[in-house]
Amino acid sequence: MSILEVRHLEKIYEGKVAHKALDNINFSIEKGEFVGIMGPSGSGKTTLLNLIATIDRPTAGEIFINGKNPHVLNRKETALFRRHELGFVFQHFNLLDTLTVEENIVLPLTLDGESVKEMDKKLQYVTKKLGIDSILKKRTYEISGGQMQRTAIARSIIHSPSLILADEPTGNLDSKASKDVMETFTAINKEEKATALMVTHDPFAASYCHRVIFIKDGKLYNEIYRGENRQAFFQKIMDMLALLGGESRDLSAVRL
């Protein structure tokens, strides 16, 4: 069964001039898949993610997550849906700097009123897995960007959501931290069977995905699968980006 199904999705931004940011988008993601979305700047990647994340409403079309359409739910149900079914990772980390690392991680469980014992158990498990169990008591301004992003990832998976959504998770990180973060993603995807959708314009980050969907001017342009070799996949992504005409990062090759 597919975890995410997007059908005839359309988004028009009203304004002085109405702008069609997404036009008839169709695709689906199976359980356990790790999918990347790429495209030139302004092609509608963030818009697409926001619609799936229920942050914004589509103009037309439907989204099903685990067979449910979150956009027909009322406000409270949407909140609960987000809490239970979705996990988020952002470019700017979006951690609360009033809280410690561990408090940030358990936040979704706190909102759900879970018992402290249960929270602790889950916390130990995910933080060990992500290698951040030594910084749990620290405040967000005391840790590095890579650690912040891994904290955000821990927060996004602690409640075992159906789908993890990530918008440019490596956008604010240096190459070493990007690599750490992407390897973390791969690990939780493999070991926890977590399903993830990641928007990025970094071909290096995208090369960790099973599949990359390209959009251009709000329309689906193409999709490519990884196969066995990540290096070859990276090359294919670079070629596709060159074809798309967006900015491509030649220097990324150095990191491989």
Binding site: T54, E102, L111
Partner: protein, 634 residues
């Protein structure tokens, strides 16, 4: 971490953001509590003469409460606005509306209860000091510290109710329509501010008109003009910030020679957005500061009462005998004895006042008889009172109107006497008060010595003036003869009398008490205005950081950054204060019409003290703000 724990930690660790809100709430509680201690103090309640004091304090307490309410409400709403992103993150992770409301509610109650505890605690510590100062100011003996349960309960309950209502309100304030708006709050580039030339013009017209009306107000027109002028000023100020000021910066921006010079471009363009963004805050700070300045300034200007008493009552003790009953002689002896007992050096003079019959006058109302004094006697009174006397000696039928107080009677009246139908035309009032209004209760004339000899009076009264060098020392003399320092003229009584020392003391004690109240209220308002600025600054800090980060990337030296920030902050701090100054100056010009003596000195002192306070506050905030900003820039 459970949900309540989460809320608690969120507040406690976010000290910087909550500090201003918390401290100003605690300060409101402190002032309210100290006032309550005062009102419920048994020693104050016992003094019957001070019922006016209690009433005034009670009124002040109510005003404080209402203001605290508005103040806390405003603080909360700016505070919540600055946290949109945080709310966005929380809602992202599935926080429901109810949970958000609960969180905001609990936070507020937490801060509220904290503020009550801290405010009352500080009140208990500083209570003794306040009681001492307060007692001194309203002119009663030192008060012992008295812990009143009533004051404690009143404060606690009043503020629990206040914070409870505010907390309920706030849940309505966090209106989240679309999560995306919350989430992108502060990230979107700001839209170009729009202005209407019509409203800009309206604002200028309203302000100029109300300044004009205030500056030209006289004693008669003041009451009629007051409310419309206040309303016009408020509306004018509002549009000044929302429209006119933006309009002006827009014109500045068009001037490339100016705009494209060095850091001007950055300053002016962000000033424009800042003005528009902060228009409501500027408006509020201006109005609140104006109220503070006016309250303190008005009271401070009453300081001239000291001089006013001296002017209205030239002799420290004036005694006017209506007839020659022996009681008058006795009273005069008593006064002299009392003066001697106090070892006060004094001089005294007796002068006759002749009441002469009037046939007709050009005034609307013709008195049956009019009191007159001779020019020499007038001179004698004035030189004894220590006034430099320079008026031209009267001759023949020249007369002066007899001044009986600060406010003059109409000039240009002709009196025709019954005696020989002598016409006396009064073209001018005497420069100084000859006899106090309260003693004589009639208009009168100063006439030349020859004429004074010639006129035959209906009756003659004897006025006695006692002069000393220190008005205050006469307080309490002849206590059995006067009430509150004054025995008014009456037809039947044998005499009328005034004792300047007692009058002065009475006025001063009322005045001091009002000053005490006004100072506290003024201080509260001024501090409130300061915290409005502080909230605003921290609400924008995130945006500013990103803004300056971009600018520094382009290449901006440290000094240039300091300069830009200083300039912007000083605008934020001093624009509303200067506008408030301007408003106050015109308000004082109107107020001046109530006083015959100049209040300029008092006003300058008050405004200067406020300005100094604002400077100190400015440098403090600037230091902290720059440090905060640079932390993220390096």
């Amino acid at each position: 971490m459970t949900f309540p724990q989460f809320v608690y930690r969120n507040v406690v660790r976010n000290k910087r953001t909550y500090a201003a809100y918390f401290l100003s709430s605690a300060f409101s509680v402190l002032i309210f509590f100290v006032y309550a201690l005062f009102i419920f103090h048994p020693d104050i309640k016992q003094g019957v003469t001070k019922t006016a004091a209690i009433q005034l304090m009670t009124a002040a307490e109510v005003i404080m409460y209402v203001f605290s309410f508005l103040f806390v409400l405003y603080s909360v709403s700016t505070f919540l606005k600055s946290r949109k992103r945080e709310f966005g993150i929380l809602m992202m992770h599935g926080m429901t509306r109810n949970q958000l409301n609960l969180m905001v509610f609990l936070e507020n109650m937490l801060i509220g209860i904290g503020a009550i505890v801290v405010g009352i605690g500080l009140g208990l510590i500083t209570g003794k000091l306040f009681l001492m100062i307060g007692a001194k100011m309203i002119g009663i003996g030192p008060l012992r510290f008295y812990f009143s349960e009533k004051a404690l309960l009143l404060t606690t309950f009043a503020f629990i109710i206040l914070f409870f209502c505010i907390s309920l309100f706030t849940t309505a304030l966090v209106r989240v329509n679309k999560l995306i708006d919350l989430f992108q709050a502060g990230e979107k580039p700001k839209t170009e501010p729009k202005v209407s030339p019509f409203l800009s013009l309206l604002s200028a017209v309203l302000l100029i008109a109300s300044y004009y009306l205030a500056a030209t107000a006289t004693l008669q027109t003041l009451i009629i003009r007051m409310l419309p002028v206040i309303a016009m000023t408020i509306v004018g100020t509002y549009f000044f910030y929302t429209q006119l000021s933006v309009f002006i910066t827009k014109l500045l921006q068009k001037n490339r020679g100016l705009f494209w010079r060095k850091t001007n471009m950055i300053t002016i363009s962000s000033l424009r957005y800042r003005l528009k963004d902060n228009a409501r805050m500027f408006f509020m700070v201006t109005i609140v500061s104006t109220v503070a300045f006016c309250a303190v300034g008005t009271l401070a200007s009453m300081n001239v009462m000291n001089r006013q008493v001296k002017q209205d009552f030239p002799a420290e003790i004036s005694y006017l005998a209506n007839d020659d009953q022996p009681v008058n002689q006795q009273n005069l002896v008593q006064i002299e004895t009392e003066l001697k007992e106090r070892k006060l050096e004094y001089t005294s003079h007796q002068i006759p006042i002749k009441y002469i019959a009037v046939a007709s006058s050009t005034d609307r109302f013709t008195p049956k008889e009019i009191p007159v004094v001779s020019f020499s006697d007038y001179e004698k009174i004035m030189t004894s009172a220590g006034n430099a006397f320079k008026e031209k000696r009267l001759a023949g039928k020249e007369v002066l109107g007899m001044r009986t107080g600060s406010f003059s009677n109409p000039e240009g009246v002709t009196y025709t006497l019954k005696q020989d139908h002598i016409k006396l035309r009064q073209n001018k009032m005497s420069k100084n008060t000859v006899l106090p209004m309260q003693l004589i209760f009639s208009e009168g004339l100063v006439i030349s010595d020859e004429l004074f000899e010639k006129v035959t009076p209906e009756n003659t009264k004897i006025y006695t003036g006692f002069y000393t060098s220190d008005l205050k020392k006469t307080s309490g003399i002849g206590e059995n003869l006067v009430e509150h320092g004054m025995k008014f003229y009456s037809d039947k009584g044998p005499y009328s009398m005034s004792v300047s020392g007692t009058i002065y003391e009475n006025q001063m004690s009322m005045y001091k008490m009002m000053l005490f109240v006004a100072l506290l209220i003024g201080a509260v308002f001024f501090i409130a205005a300061g915290s409005f600025l502080y909230f605003r600054l921290y609400a924008d800090l995130d945006y500013d950081r990103r803004h300056y980060l971009t600018i520094t990337k382009v290449g901006l030296t440290n000094q240039e950054l300091n300069k830009i920030v200083t300039r912007q902050l000083s605008l934020l701090f001093f624009v509303p204060i200067l506008v408030a100054f301007l408003h106050s100056v015109f308000a004082f010009m109107a107020l001046q019409s109530l006083f015959s003596l100049s209040i300029a000195k008092e006003i300058v002192i008050v405004l200067a003290s406020f300005l100094i306070a604002q400077f100190i506050y400015f440098f403090l905030i600037r230091f902290r703000y720059l440090r905060n900003l640079k932390k993220t820039l390096v």
